[in-house]
């Protein structure tokens, strides 16, 4: 931690939050709010005189509320930067009648009530998201009586109680009588591996953390009786099994079976646990003086903020989705963004450090190369066709197209560096005056036509966006989820690229069903392009209805990259719908659309950007 504070290449921005990220790999523009600390970070010598005189007493967050701090305080003794902070929400204010004592006391004059939040604008090449985890709050597990029984604590509170820098200076005591307990029970999987409460996954770290805790107790208090109630002990890492053995050799009792309930003895405040020992198949009762709930790891509650800032996806467990679970485990789907630590999945210190090293190395590759190639999938304007309607500029989520001016014959212009290639402009342009490189109308139309060349009545045409739905299909494949083989996917970068003429052409050529699928609104990799998908599909439903075609034959689904299950389910659903589409219906559709104006586009003219 100290190394970070003094490293000449690191600019440490604590008490700060990222507010906005724009741009792309190699060229991100990041807005950071540096919140007012009200104490000069560099000037403060951490003498502590201000805190001594401060009259406000609040629970200390660092000590898990087991001791108190003042309104002006040091987060913890080894904090980096080593400076006090004034919490304005707790402070009585700089009114001589009310308080203002710290201001008077500070000799260095580094307290300033008038400091404002600062907005910093940074130019960034690569980003590493190491936004961490949250800890499960076991209050909802009524049977364990956390908060009802004082002697039931969490593993995080245990850490503070056993720590020499903790509120009891490392004397492990129970809250009711401040005496060292003679017996302690640990309960595993609290908030983990449960479909009903907490999280369904294994939190990875709690087994080893408890084993470590029992060894600490055995070391500090020989003879203390420790019992661990568990489902499975997962000691899978290097050196882990040795620790587990050592713990058992120290006399720690491991009991396979989680307690169904805990009761408190009203007099002694001891705790009575009832559990089925699944090894002996007997209901056992254990009385201990203290209980530690080994709480699980949760994704951060503010994950959706980070998700939006960096256009990420999350798996069903709430952690961020990697670009590939095996081959790109530290890369985010957004190019130039990498993951480190628990933001991706629960990890212990060693794994966090390992992944951080990998993320740093991945980021260095880009920084060292000094340049990156941008995929040639951006849009180009075909001036000859443009009618100056201005729709392209309106739909562009990146404002990468300048406005048209019909009067002065000013053509819209695509700023290529800002274009991300979603294709919403090309799909919306009523006169096909925009060409998406590598995803041209001709290329996509030719795929539609080829897929429906034979047995068209059986072929369900599915347009899937590259980032979510296509990847969701990949996930279904990787998971070997079986579904009927009638679906034929066409990949576009964004569902916003799906032009209405693609859909109409598919129906015209005899497709029984068409599916347009994209990212959930929050996951859209092109900010808001998916909104245009929805509007367009809604308009198409109207068109189909007007022509006497059942709008249900055009389906719209949002499938994320992590939703392999949903992808397979949607595909199975389509198969069911397929049965309801009659041959007459298809023939009628083909006739109606065939009689209508030609929907195929003219081969594009020379592209002019």
């Amino acid at each position: 931690m100290m190394d970070v504070g003094r490293h000449p290449n690191i600019e440490l921005l604590v008490y700060s939050e990222v507010e906005d990220v724009s741009g792309y790999i190699g060229n991100f523009k990041v807005k950071v709010r540096k919140k007012a600390r009200y104490v000069g970070e560099k000037e403060c010598t951490a003498c502590g005189e201000c805190a001594k005189i401060c009259p406000v007493v609040k629970p200390d967050e660092y000590q898990m509320g087991l001791s108190s701090r003042k309104a002006i305080y040091m987060p913890f003794p080894q904090a980096v930067p080593s400076a006090y902070i004034l919490n304005m929400a707790d402070c009585l204010g700089n009114n001589p009648i009310a308080c203002g004592k710290c201001l008077e006391k500070c000799e260095k004059k580094c307290i300033d009530y008038d400091i404002q939040d600062q907005i910093l604008e940074l130019e960034i090449g690569t980003i590493i998201a190491a936004t961490g985890m949250d800890v499960y709050d076991p209050t909802e597990l009524d049977e364990y009586g956390y908060t009802r029984y004082e002697n039931v604590i969490t593993s995080m509170e245990f850490e503070r109680l056993i720590c020499a820098g903790g509120p009891t200076e490392g004397h492990f005591v129970r809250p009711t009588d401040w005496k060292t307990p003679k017996s302690v029970a640990f309960i595993q999987c609290v908030g983990s591996r449960s479909e009903k409460r907490g999280a369904p996954y294994c939190s990875n770290i709690c087994c080893m953390n408890t084993i470590k805790d029992t060894l600490l107790l055995a070391d500090h208090y020989p003879g203390m009786q420790c019992k661990v109630f568990y489902m499975d002990i997962r000691a899978f890492g290097k050196g882990f099994e040795d620790l587990y053995k050592r713990s058992k050799e120290e006399g720690v009792q491991y009991i396979r079976g989680l307690p169904g309930e805990i009761e408190e003895d009203p007099v002694t405040k001891n705790l009575i646990l009832r559990a089925e020992n699944t090894t002996t198949r007997e209901i056992e009762t254990h009385e201990v003086e203290m209980v530690v709930l080994s709480v699980g790891v949760l994704p951060r509650r503010d994950g959706d903020v980070v998700q939006k800032l960096l256009t990420l996806s999350r798996t069903s467990d709430g952690f961020f989705l990697e670009a590939h679970p095996k081959l790109k485990p530290v890369d985010a789907p957004t190019r130039g963004v990498f993951f480190a630590g628990c933001t991706e999945y629960p990890k212990d210190v060693k794994d966090s450090v390992t992944q951080a090293g990998a993320a740093a190395a991945r980021a260095s590759i880009i920084l060292n190369a000094g340049k990156v190639k941008i995929e040639a999938i951006t849009s180009r304007l075909i001036k000859e066709k443009c009618t100056f309607c201005g729709l392209c500029a309106k739909v562009c989520p990146y404002h990468a197209i300048t406005a048209a001016d019909r009067k002065n014959k000013v053509y819209p212009m695509v700023i290529e560096a800002a274009c991300a290639g979603c294709g919403a402009c090309a799909a919306e342009c009523p006169v096909d005056a925009i060409k998406m490189r590598h995803f041209t109308d001709e290329q996509i139309m030719s795929q539609v036509e080829a897929l429906l060349e034979k047995d068209s009545q059986e072929a369900i045409v599915c347009f899937a966006c590259n980032w979510c739905s296509y990847a969701g299909g990949d996930m279904a494949g990787t998971s070997r989820l079986q579904y009927p083989p009638n679906v034929r996917l066409i990949r576009t970068m964004c569902s916003g690229r799906v032009d209405k003429k693609f859909v109409l052409q598919a129906f015209k050529l005899g497709a029984p069903l068409v599916l347009v699928s994209g990212c959930h609104f929050a996951d859209c990799h092109y900010i808001s392009a998916v909104h245009w998908t929805q509007r367009r599909v809604e308009r198409l439903w109207d068109t189909l209805e007007q022509k006497g075609i059942r709008p249900e034959r055009l389906q719209l689904e949002w499938i994320s990259a992590a939703e392999g299950q949903k992808f397979a389910k949607v595909m199975r659903g389509l198969e069911e719908m397929l049965k309801a589409v009659t041959r007459e219906e298809i023939e009628y559709t083909m006739k109606v659309l065939g009689d209508a104006k030609e929907v195929t586009p003219e081969p594009s003219l020379v592209a002019v950007s």
Binding site: D3, V14, G26, I128, G132, K371, T478, R480
Partner: protein, 218 residues
């Protein structure tokens, strides 16, 4: 009757399109990957290869056990030279994994990487229709046909190169963020480490000792 009519329409239309582009003298190579048994265990790769041979403009079809491996890539390069290919279609896995591999491969053989097209007959076919081998094979043929159709319209592209700003942002100052920031900074890069709380350290700083070494966390 209607359907027949439409089929006829498609044909003439497609022919017109083929003709328009075949001025460029399209020479396509289709490479069907078995991926060990991952694809070949379900899809009849030989039938798919034979079918690919019947598609217009396809002048070379090669079936491989692993197209992504060096021998497979060498086959692609060899075929580009031998048959003077100007379009390459690989039917294998998801482009999310190997599109960059194959783009690089054709580029090395002197072909613009955007004249490469990938058809996913693994994640979207063999792995998800394991119990319907015949229909999976038919689907694979359809997907190859679609890929070949798209490949006809592929155009050479030039990728723009952009400069990279020589700085990194690390969001979060827990153990992972600290380590990542230090590694990058030690490598000589400018790093901005943003932490929400008034001190770095995160949850790790609240832990007394850490396993497996049983030493202090701070």
């Amino acid at each position: 009757m209607l359907i027949a009519n439409f089929a006829f329409c498609i044909e003439t239309e497609t022919l017109r399109r083929y003709k328009a582009v075949s001025k460029n003298d399209l020479r396509m190579g289709v490479f069907v990957c078995e991926c060990g048994l991952n694809i070949a265990g379900t899809v009849d790769c030989k039938a798919v290869s034979e079918y690919a041979r019947t598609l217009p403009d396809v002048v070379a079809v090669i079936q491989n056990k692993y197209t992504c491996a060096d021998p497979g890539q060498n086959e692609i390069k060899k075929a580009i030279a031998e048959h003077n290919l100007n379009r390459v279609v690989v039917a294998s896995c998801t482009p999310k994994i190997h599109e960059p591999t194959f783009r690089q491969c054709v580029a090395e053989a002197g072909l613009n990487p955007y004249l490469f097209e990938m058809v996913n007959i693994r994640e979207h076919c063999s792995w998800v229709h394991q119990n319907q081998k015949d229909r999976a094979t038919e689907k694979a043929k359809d997907l190859v046909r679609s890929g070949v159709a798209r490949a006809r319209y592929l155009e050479t592209q030039d990728e723009a190169e952009v400069k990279v700003t020589k700085s990194a942002l690390v969001i979060g100052g827990g153990i992972a963020g600290i380590q990542a920031a230090l590694d990058l900074a030690d490598g000589g890069h400018k790093v901005y480490l943003v932490e929400k709380e008034p001190s770095i350290g995160g949850i790790m700083a609240q832990i007394d000792k850490t396993y497996p070494t049983m030493d202090c966390s701070i």
